[in-house]
């Protein structure tokens, strides 16, 4: 998969936002189709994805290391030092080690992906991400045959993250995927949004994006990736196993114990907007449903 398409452009080279918006309809279809060639054509629904405004995407965030209110991350995340940045890749890999962010970027192919983003809190956005497929990064480190899961860890910097003073979660934030989920072409490491470097409050300098899972699976500001044989612990599952499972696939038929997941509020649509029906696998069922064939999704929520 790696380097199947050579891109010499970087985030800063991508069309500016105004121009981007003018052609967003075209891009929405095109970008969603990128990388899906091998998994069957362009999903029909991708064509009407309207990106949420840059302002909403960058001011309405859940990043509890910077505070639990939606506006806290944009206010506090500037404190986070993102350069230099290294990602430790370890565990069942051929080439474990500290990978500098610049070295990773030099080898990766950055693409634009416009994805639906569905939070477990029953709101949703459409985000134009820039990033590379996680599979390419894992292949760079060389996945060993015994590896079955991928564990991720967010930076923990008490001096730069005012939110970690409070035991809202057991810091650092950790997440995990099954290896086939991690290797899926829809799964990306995002390094930008709207063609710009990803803002700190959105998880700079690199974060996971798994568009068919609830947003909290898409872990931010990653410093460690570990290939493991056993299912790794995940933060929200540790905090409340009854409410947050390891898989956390978007599923309108499985309610969160405290609220329905059947529908969602669309961010940016105003005070009187109708709720939108939530789609199975957040609308990516054609691409990912086969990963879960034979599994009881109610038990493995």
């Amino acid at each position: 998969m790696a380097h199947r398409w050579k891109n010499t452009l970087r985030d800063k080279d991508v069309t500016d936002e105004a121009a981007f918006l003018n052609r967003r309809q075209l891009m929405a279809g095109a970008a969603a189709g990128v990388g899906l060639a091998g998994v069957g054509g362009m999903p029909a629904r991708a064509r009407d994805l309207e990106p949420t405004s840059y302002e909403d995407v960058t001011t309405y965030n859940n990043y509890y290391e910077f505070g639990t209110a939606k506006g806290d991350p944009v206010e506090n995340a500037h404190m986070l030092t993102t350069r230099p940045w290294t990602v430790k890749i370890e565990g069942l890999v051929d080439r474990p080690g500290d990978y500098a962010f610049e070295d990773i970027m030099a080898k990766m192919t950055v693409e634009e992906r416009i994805y639906r983003f569905r939070c477990v809190e029953a709101w949703s956005m459409v985000v134009p991400w820039n990033g590379f497929e996680l599979a390419d990064l894992l292949e760079m480190a060389g996945v060993q045959s015994g590896a079955k899961y991928v564990a991720f860890e967010t930076a923990l910097r008490p001096d730069e993250m005012p939110g970690v003073k409070y035991p809202v979660l057991d810091w650092p934030y950790v997440e995990g995927l099954r290896l086939d989920e991690a290797m899926h072409p829809l799964t990306i490491m995002a390094t930008g949004i709207y063609g710009k470097d990803i803002p700190n409050q959105n998880g700079a300098p690199l974060r996971l994006v798994v568009p068919w899972k609830y947003g909290f699976k898409s872990i931010k500001s990653i410093v460690r990736i570990t290939l493991t044989e056993t299912e790794p612990p995940t933060s929200w599952n540790k905090a409340n196993a009854r409410e947050y499972g390891f898989y956390s696939n978007v599923n309108p038929e499985v309610s969160h114990p405290r609220w329905s997941q059947a529908s969602e509020r669309v961010i940016g649509s105003g005070l009187f907007a109708r709720r939108q029906d939530t789609l199975m696998f957040n609308g990516y069922g054609d691409e990912v449903a086969s990963l879960y064939e034979g599994m009881d999704l109610k038990a493995n929520f």
Binding site: Y60, K70, Y166, V168, S260, R265, I267, G268, L271, R275
Partner: protein, 208 residues
């Protein structure tokens, strides 16, 4: 004249009606901001949380009236009815925003009330407050008699606790703010029971 007396003399000249006007005005202003799309990315949640939070602030304010009078000598008794009714007004706003603008589907509103414990708890608090709001007038006090009226209005204690628990339950993880609210509410109520116990104890002593 002590400072407290100055404060109380000043307070006697302040009417209670501005509390009603300010509450109505604030709710209307927030709704207006929402209509103007000036409440940020998720206006429904902002409006919903703001109304709920105002109700909690006013609940705490109402519960603080008696301790303030007994401990500091500051008398805010004449404002308590307005604080309570304003609190109820914001609870109703909170409920309406949740049902009409957030959940939107009447079947799901009912399902949520029955199925979701934090909503059940919030609804229970609302239901407990209804008789208090209905009897927050002089006519009711006269008709019921002050003692019975006072007993009925002790329902505000369980209602306040349930309101605080509702807030703690609805957030993700253990967050500070809701816990502080609940602790303050519990503290204000616990103080009353401690005072009562002490009084009862001293009565027993003098009787002996």
């Amino acid at each position: 004249m002590a400072a407290v007396d100055h404060i109380n003399t000043g307070l006697r000249r302040v009417p209670a009606w501005p509390i009603y006007v300010a509450s109505l005005g604030y709710a209307a202003w927030m709704l207006w901001l929402g209509i103007q799309n000036r409440l940020g990315a998720d206006p429904v949640k902002v409006l919903e949380h703001e109304m709920g939070q105002m109700a909690l602030y006013l609940l705490v304010a109402g519960l603080a009236v008696t301790p303030l009078r007994k401990l500091a000598g500051v008398n805010l008794l004449k404002f308590r009815r307005a604080l309570g009714l304003a609190c109820f007004f914001f609870v109703v706003c909170h409920l309406l925003v949740w049902a009409v603008l957030d959940v939107q589907r009447i079947g799901e509103v009912w399902a949520d009330i029955v199925k979701r414990p934090y909503i059940t708890v919030g609804m229970a608090a609302f239901v407990l407050l209804i008789p208090l709001a209905v009897t927050s007038n002089n006519l009711s006090i006269r008709k019921m008699g002050a003692a019975a009226w006072g007993r009925l209005h002790q329902l505000v204690y369980p209602a306040a606790i349930l309101g605080g628990v509702h807030y703690v339950m609805l957030v993700k993880g253990w967050q500070i703010r809701p816990l502080v609210f609940l602790a303050v509410i519990a503290g204000l109520i616990a103080w009353r029971f401690l005072v009562k116990r002490k009084k009862a104890a001293s009565r027993v002593q003098t009787a002996a």
